[in-house]
C-alpha cells in the first residue's frame, strides 16, 4: 500500500510540475484527482488557504465558473445585492474578467433609488468584503494557515468605469427623485461619493 501511495504521489508531483510547465500530461488523471482529493481532505484546515469572503459567496463563484450563462443569470437574480457586490470584489481581485463583467451587468440592472449608494460605492472601488481576522503570516498557534485577503488588493480599489458611468447616468436622470426619496444621511453620502468620484477623475 505504501509503495502504491508513493507511486501515486510521484505521479501527482510529475503531473503538477508538467502542468506548471504547460506541456501535455499523459498520466493517469483519474488516479491523480482521486488522490489529491483524498490527501487534501485528510489534512487539517489549518494547512489550507483561508479565503476572504463567506462560504456561500465562494460556492456561488465556483458554480459560476462552470455554469452556463442561463443558469448563471438565474443564480445572479437570486443573489442579494451585498452578495453580488462581494462576488464582484472577488472576481476583480483574481482578475476574472468575464465573470466580473457579468456581475457588473447584473448590478447595473439593479440600480434603483434604494440601492444606488451601495452600487455607486462599489463602482468607485470603496466597498470591502468580510475578511477573517487573523495574521496573514503563518505562526505556531495557527499552524500553516494563510489568509488570502481581498480588501488589500489594488485591483478592487480602482473604480470600475462601466459601473461608474451607469451610476452617473442614473444619477443624471434621477437626481431629484433620489434626493427627494432618500433621507438626509443618504443624500450626504451620495454627495460624498460624487466628491470621491471627482477626486478619482482629477487626481492622477
Amino acid at each position: 500500500v505504501q509503495s502504491e501511495l508513493d507511486g501515486q504521489i510521484e505521479r501527482c508531483k510529475q503531473l503538477l510540475l508538467a502542468d506548471q510547465s504547460g506541456s501535455r500530461v499523459q498520466t493517469d488523471i483519474v488516479d491523480a484527482e482521486t488522490f489529491s482529493r483524498v490527501v487534501t481532505t485528510k489534512i487539517p484546515v489549518t494547512d489550507l488557504y483561508l479565503f476572504a469572503g463567506r462560504y456561500e459567496i465562494w460556492q456561488e463563484l465556483f458554480s459560476h465558473l462552470q455554469d452556463t450563462s442561463f443558469l448563471m443569470a438565474n443564480s445572479l437574480k437570486a443573489m442579494t445585492l451585498r452578495d453580488t457586490i462581494d462576488v464582484l470584489l472577488i472576481a476583480r481581485k483574481f482578475e476574472m474578467k468575464l465573470l466580473a463583467e457579468e456581475y457588473v451587468s447584473s448590478l447595473i440592472a439593479r440600480i434603483n433609488v434604494a440601492d444606488f449608494s451601495a452600487i455607486f460605492e462599489a463602482a468607485l472601488g470603496l466597498s470591502t468584503i468580510f475578511e477573517p481576522k487573523t495574521s496573514s503570516k503563518p505562526n505556531a498557534s495557527a499552524g500553516n494557515i494563510r489568509v488570502v485577503s481581498v480588501n488589500d488588493s489594488d485591483a478592487i480599489r480602482r473604480p470600475h468605469l462601466r459601473l461608474c458611468c451607469a451610476c452617473l447616468s442614473y444619477l443624471s436622470t434621477n437626481l431629484e427623485q433620489l434626493f427627494r426619496l432618500s433621507n438626509a444621511q443618504t443624500s450626504t453620502f451620495i454627495l460624498q461619493l460624487l466628491h470621491q468620484c471627482l477626486e478619482l477623475v482629477i487626481l492622477p
Binding site: T41, L171, L178, L198
Partner: protein
C-alpha cells in the same frame, strides 16, 4: 484684395466685431481680414503666418476685401468724425485700418509703424492701444468663442483667418518665451519680429512710455483673455481641436477646387455650450466611423480618391494645443499664488486671534488667557516673510474663476468653468494636484453642509462646490454630474478600444489558456461562514469582523484548469498550495 485696391476702411468697432459673429461666413472673413490688417500695421510686417494654408484663400480674400470696401463706404459717414481718435470701450469710436494687399502678397519691404500711422492717420502708440482694446473687447463680447469655433469651419478660408487672428491675439497677449518658441517653427522670422515687439511692449521689460498699456491694464487684459476662454466653455473645444478628429474627405484631384476647400462636415455652431460641442464632435466621429464601416480602408482610399485625415489642419491643432499649454501654465501659477496668499492670511488671522487675548481680556469668561502665561507671539509673515509674495495676477485670476464657480447663479457659466478646470487638470499632474488642494477664498460664505475630503479635513474647492449645490439637484446635475458622466464615458470608450485592440493582439495566447487540458486536479480551500447578523452592512458603516475559528469550512474547488480559464492568478495560487499540500502529506 487686388493689387490696385489700397483701401482705407473706417468702421465702428462694434460693427466690426459683430460681423465676426455673423451667420454669413463671408462677413466673418471680411471682419477678420480687417482685424488682421490692423495687426499687421501694428506689428510692422505683412508676412503670412502659415505657408501651409496660404493657397486656399486668394479668391475669398479678394471678395472679402471688396465687401470691406463697400461696407467701409457705407459706414464712412458714421465714423468720419472719429478718425484718428482713441477707441472707445463699447464701439463708440472707430477703427481705422489700412489694407494693402499688394505689399502683403508680394512680400515687399514693409512700411514702418510710423509710416503706417501717418498713412492711416493714427499714431503708432494709438494703434497699439486700439489692438489691445480690441483684444479686450473680443474677450468680453464672446468673440473668442466664434474665433475658436471658426477653426472648425467648413470653409478653409474661414479656418485660416481664425487661425491668423487667434494666433496674433495669443502671441500679443501672452509674452511667455516658451509660447513664442512653440510658434517659431510656424512663423519663422515673423515671430522673431513679434517677439522683439512684444518685449518692447511688455510692461515689465521696458520703461512705460506714453501710449503703452500700464502694468495694471496689461494684467487685466491677460485675465480677461484667460477667463473668457474658460468661462465660455472653450477649453474642451480647444482640447478636441488639438487632438483632431479623423474625417474622410475626397481627394482634391477628383473634385472641383471650390469643394476641395471644404471638409464635408456640418457647419460648426457659433453659439455652443458644453453639450453642443459634444454633439458636434459625436457627429464628426460618426461620419468617420461610417466611412470605416463602409469599407473605406487606407489602401482602398487611395484608389477611390478618398483619404482619411485629421481635421482641422496641423497648424490649427498646434495653435489649440499651445493655447491649452499657456492656460495650464498661467492657472498653475495662479493657484500657487492663491494658496500662498490664503496661507499667509491664515497665519495673520491666527496671530491676530492669539494676540487678541492679551490686548482685551474678557473678564466674564472663566477660561480667559493669562497674559503672563501666554506664549510669545509667532512672528507674522509680514515681519519675516519666508515665501515670496503672491503675484496680483495670480490671485486675481484665481478669484475671477473661483468666485463665479462657487457663488454664481448662472449654471451654464458654472458648468463651463468646472469643465474647463477639469480638462486643464488632465493636462498637467501638478496642476491637477493644485486644483484638488487649492483653498476656497475667505470672502465666500461657508455652506451649511460640509463634505470632508478623503484623508484631509480641509474644505477644498470641489467639496465646497458640491455642498453649495446640494440644495439644487438640477444645478448639481448640470454643473457636476453631466460633465463628469461625459468624461467617464469618454474614458470608458477609450478603455474598450484599448481592450479590443489588446484582445486582437493576444488571441493566440488566450486560445492557449482556454484550451482544455486533461489535468483535473481540484484543490481544497477554507472559507468562513458567519451568522446573518454580521452579513448586514449599510453603505456607510463597515462590516464587523468576526473570529473565524468556529466557522471555517472546507470547500472543494473546481479543477485547476477550469479555474485557470477564468483566472490565472487564482489558479496559480491554488496550484502552488496544492503542490505543497501533497508534498506535506507524503512526508
Amino acid at each position: 484684395m487686388s493689387a490696385d485696391q489700397s483701401t482705407v476702411t473706417m468702421m465702428p468697432v462694434n460693427e466690426l466685431l459683430s460681423l465676426i459673429v455673423s451667420d454669413v461666413w463671408q462677413f466673418q472673413v471680411m471682419a477678420l481680414d480687417l482685424l488682421l490688417h490692423l495687426v499687421r500695421s501694428n506689428a510692422g510686417t505683412e508676412r503670412e503666418p502659415d505657408s501651409t494654408l496660404t493657397n486656399s484663400n486668394k479668391q475669398s480674400s479678394k471678395a472679402a476685401s471688396q465687401k470691406a470696401t463697400i461696407i467701409g463706404k457705407k459706414d464712412a459717414g458714421i465714423s468720419d468724425n472719429t478718425a484718428g481718435g482713441k477707441v472707445g470701450r463699447r464701439g463708440t469710436n472707430s477703427l481705422m485700418t489700412s489694407a494693402s494687399s499688394k505689399a502683403s502678397n508680394s512680400g515687399q519691404p514693409q512700411l514702418s509703424k510710423q509710416q503706417q500711422g501717418e498713412s492711416s492717420g493714427v499714431a503708432p502708440s494709438t494703434s497699439i492701444l486700439q489692438w489691445w482694446s480690441i483684444c479686450q473687447e473680443m474677450c468680453k463680447l464672446g468673440i473668442l468663442r466664434s474665433l475658436f469655433w471658426g477653426l472648425l469651419s467648413t470653409k478653409a478660408v474661414m479656418r485660416r483667418r481664425c487661425y491668423q487672428v487667434g494666433h496674433r491675439i495669443i502671441a500679443h497677449i501672452w509674452t511667455r518665451f516658451s509660447f513664442i518658441i512653440r510658434f517659431y517653427c510656424i512663423e519663422n522670422m515673423q515671430l522673431l519680429k513679434e517677439m522683439i515687439l512684444i518685449r518692447i511692449l511688455s510692461p515689465g521689460a521696458q520703461n512705460n512710455t506714453s501710449g503703452q498699456l500700464s502694468k495694471k491694464e496689461f494684467i487685466a487684459l491677460k485675465i480677461d483673455c484667460v477667463t473668457s476662454i474658460v468661462e465660455q466653455g472653450l477649453v474642451p473645444l480647444l482640447e478636441h481641436i488639438s487632438t483632431g478628429v479623423p474625417v474622410v474627405r475626397a481627394n482634391r484631384d477628383s473634385i472641383s477646387p471650390q469643394s476641395a476647400e471644404a471638409v464635408p462636415l456640418a457647419p460648426a455652431p457659433l453659439d455652443c455650450s458644453f453639450d453642443d460641442w459634444q454633439r458636434y464632435y459625436a457627429g464628426l466621429q460618426e461620419r468617420s466611423v461610417c466611412g470605416e464601416a463602409a469599407g473605406i480602408s487606407e489602401t482602398a482610399v487611395a484608389s477611390e480618391r478618398v483619404e482619411t485625415t485629421l481635421f482641422p489642419e496641423v497648424p490649427l491643432r498646434e495653435l489649440a494645443a499651445s493655447v491649452i499649454n499657456v492656460l495650464v501654465d498661467m492657472l498653475k501659477t495662479s493657484f500657487i499664488d492663491a494658496t500662498q496668499e490664503q496661507a499667509s492670511r491664515d497665519i495673520i488671522g491666527a496671530d491676530q486671534d492669539s494676540g487678541a487675548a492679551p490686548a482685551a481680556p474678557s473678564k466674564s469668561t472663566k477660561n480667559a488667557v493669562d497674559p503672563r502665561k501666554a506664549q510669545p507671539p509667532v512672528p507674522s509673515p509680514t515681519q519675516a516673510p519666508t515665501n515670496p509674495p503672491a503675484s496680483p495676477l495670480g490671485v486675481l485670476l484665481y478669484k475671477r474663476l473661483v468666485n463665479p464657480l462657487l457663488v454664481s447663479g448662472n449654471n451654464k457659466l458654472k458648468a463651463n468653468i468646472f469643465v474647463g478646470l477639469l480638462c486643464l487638470g488632465g493636462f498637467d499632474a501638478e496642476f491637477s494636484q493644485q486644483l484638488w488642494t487649492v483653498p476656497v477664498p475667505h470672502e465666500i460664505p461657508r455652506p451649511l453642509l460640509v463634505l470632508s475630503s478623503s484623508g484631509t479635513n480641509t474644505l477644498n474647492l470641489f467639496s465646497f462646490l458640491l455642498s453649495s449645490l446640494a440644495k439644487d439637484p438640477t444645478a448639481l446635475c448640470s454643473v457636476v454630474v453631466s460633465p463628469l458622466l461625459q468624461v467617464l464615458s469618454a474614458a470608458l470608450q477609450q478603455q474598450q478600444r484599448d481592450q479590443s485592440a489588446t484582445m486582437q493582439s493576444t488571441d493566440g495566447v488566450t486560445a492557449e489558456f482556454s484550451r482544455p487540458r486533461k489535468a483535473v486536479l481540484s484543490p481544497i480551500i477554507c472559507c468562513v461562514s458567519y451568522t446573518p447578523s454580521h452579513q448586514h452592512r449599510t453603505a456607510t458603516s463597515k462590516h464587523s469582523q468576526q473570529a473565524f475559528d468556529a466557522q471555517q469550512l472546507r470547500m472543494q474547488c473546481p479543477s485547476l484548469d477550469l479555474i485557470r480559464r477564468h483566472s490565472i492568478t487564482l489558479a496559480t495560487l491554488l496550484q502552488v498550495r496544492l503542490c505543497s499540500t501533497i508534498v506535506r502529506a507524503s512526508i
